[in-house]
């Protein structure tokens, strides 16, 4: 049962990967500066695409999504962008053993952790989710 769900999940994320989805979304998010609705919708796509597909996670990391996330966290410290935390969780959760993107991202986030905790008011459950992974 678990297998067929995972396969169904991977099919749509693989399609997204094949049509250069990660590049398109990250480019648009980089260009759009401060619209919180757009950031929320965009990071929801990141979260959905990164869930269950380690290769997509690696692609996002190569596109420096971690830097983008930190920029947004710094800049939008007053507004809560819910999907941003979903994206962080999705990127940090290892799903299969194809590549070790989530381990790379973990190292990056450990580096930036003091910055995360000091500057920003993280929602409590996101914070718990984050600390679970780190």
């Amino acid at each position: 049962m678990i297998m067929c769900y995972s396969i169904a999940d991977i099919q749509s994320t693989e399609r997204f990967r094949n049509c250069t989805g990660p590049n398109i979304v990250v480019d648009l998010l980089n260009d759009s500066s401060s619209d919180s609705d757009l950031l929320d919708a965009g990071f929801a796509v990141v979260a959905a695409a990164a869930t269950g597909n380690e290769v997509v996670k690696q692609l996002f990391m190569e596109l420096k999504i971690d830097e983008l996330i930190l920029q947004v966290l710094n800049r939008e410290s007053k507004t809560t962008i819910r999907a941003l935390y979903d994206a962080i969780c999705a990127l940090l959760t290892p799903d299969d053993f194809r590549v070790v993107a989530s381990q790379v991202s973990m190292v990056t986030f450990v580096w930036y952790m003091p910055l995360l905790t000091a500057g920003m008011k993280l929602r409590e459950n996101s914070y718990i989710a984050l600390s679970k992974h780190l």
Binding site: D9, G21, L28, V45
Partner: protein, 107 residues
């Protein structure tokens, strides 16, 4: 839903190079909202059907043609929302719980 996708395909093939008129923006935006609503309900399986009909590729293609401006957010937000729903597919809360349990070796 297929009609909705066909209309979006028309817009995609016409190419969105030049400056778009407001009506076109509004129509694409409402088409994506429709798609989002149709694919949101878990039971229907619409998301899977839409993905089979190339909705993910189509949405990516339209996304890549939109340039960021103050107006473009009107299209991009519903576009991203539809894309997220499509990618998530049929993943329900139950499946997510199963997947999470699987990840942490709980089952």
């Amino acid at each position: 839903m297929i009609a909705c996708l066909d209309r979006l395909k028309e817009f995609d093939s016409v190419s969105i190079d030049g400056p778009l008129r407001d009506e076109v923006f509004d129509e694409i935006s409402s088409l994506f909202k429709n798609l989002n609503e149709l694919c949101s309900s878990q039971e229907s399986g619409n998301a899977a059907i839409a993905t089979k009909h190339g909705a993910v590729d189509l949405t990516c293609s339209i996304c890549s043609k939109i340039k960021i401006s103050t107006r473009s957010n009107r299209v991009l937000v519903p576009c991203f929302k539809a894309l997220a729903v499509l990618i998530r597919g049929m993943t329900s809360v139950l499946e997510l719980v199963v997947l999470v349990c699987f990840n942490f070796d709980l089952c």
